[in-house]
């Protein structure tokens, strides 16, 4: 029995995680493409036209998944950064750094698609409403994390400084989530919540879930690809990097 248990700590070293990440990467790319095709099909061909917003509401299928991922990735990034800070595991900190740019991209896409949705429906690209402002702060937290790490030469010190910023910023995630309840916002309330049944057509819900899965799988693939590059850059003097098959020209 005992020899069938997997020793997960084995994968906490870059040397063992690098090839594992390389093996997982194609699977997540395939999943992202498959969910993406299914999600786009439902978004444009299955989900019916909206009674109030016509075809314009279809922005929801990129806006909501990107917004969900921007918040989710932040929590995952802060968790890895926190692990790195608490247990001094360098791979955890590398995972946090690998997630940040993809998270920033999701936050940007959330704001961008939101602006393009706000213009025809509310008559404005932007308002300083609680939901929009807290999402903008999320984008700045991601950019601040990236800039702070880039400004510190010693990678281990950069990891620690970044981790503190990431952990302090976590408080913004529930603020984004509950902003539509706590404040009187122009942004509508949650269409999908954990506590009550969704207030939309089944096909619309499926489109959103499939697109969210596509972006989730894409984000995992992007983070794995980036963490592999970070490992090569940071572990350049380690023997295992030299012995990799890709180093034999």
């Amino acid at each position: 029995m005992s020899n069938r248990l997997i020793n997960w700590f084995r994968f906490s070293s870059p040397q063992t995680f690098y090839p594992l990440a390389g093996k997982m990467l194609p699977w997540f790319i395939v999943l992202a493409i498959a969910f993406g095709i299914a999600g786009l099909w439902v978004s444009f061909f299955v989900a019916p036209v909206d009674a109030q917003q016509g075809q314009g509401y279809r922005i929801i299928f990129v806006h909501v998944p990107a917004s969900w991922m921007s918040m989710f990735l932040y929590v995952v990034m802060a968790a890895w950064a926190g692990f790195g800070l608490a247990f001094n595991t360098r791979l955890s900190s590398m995972m946090a750094s690998a997630i940040a740019p993809t998270g920033a991209l999701m936050a940007f896409l959330s704001l961008w698609s939101g602006a393009l949705w706000g213009k025809p429906m509310w008559g404005t690209w932007w308002v300083w409403d609680a939901r929009l402002t807290s999402e903008l702060i999320l984008l700045f937290l991601y950019l601040g994390f990236i800039a702070l790490q880039a400004a510190i030469d010693d990678p281990r010190r950069a990891d620690k400084a970044g981790a503190i910023l990431a952990l302090v910023g976590v408080v913004n995630v529930p603020i984004i989530y509950f902003s539509v309840k706590w404040w009187n916002t122009l942004h509508q309330g949650a269409s999908v919540s954990l506590t009550k049944s969704p207030s939309m057509a089944q096909a619309m819900l499926w489109g959103m879930l499939l697109m969210a899965l596509a972006l989730w799988m894409y984000s995992i693939a992007a983070a794995l690809a980036r963490v592999r590059a970070i490992m090569l850059e940071r572990e350049r003097h380690a023997g295992w990097v030299e012995e990799l098959p890709e180093m034999r020209a």
Binding site: A47, G54, R58, L109, P120, A225, A229, E242, M247
Partner: protein, 60 residues
């Protein structure tokens, strides 16, 4: 099926700019990130190969 013709699909009921602006920028962003990640990996490998070659030439 929601669309009578291809043109109708691209018109998006008059919201073409907003809908395609959202989906187009999102798709472009994902493609650009993928290209940047490939570049980052290949430049790391080129750099490392150069270092390894330099080290073996110096005999250390």
């Amino acid at each position: 099926m929601n669309w009578g013709s291809t043109a109708e699909f691209f018109e998006m009921g008059g919201y073409a700019f907003f809908v395609w602006g959202s989906f187009g920028v999102a798709a472009a962003a994902l493609v650009i990130e993928t290209i940047l990640l490939r570049k980052r990996r290949s430049s790391a490998i080129v750099e490392l190969r150069r270092e390894i070659a330099a080290r073996s030439k110096n005999g250390s």
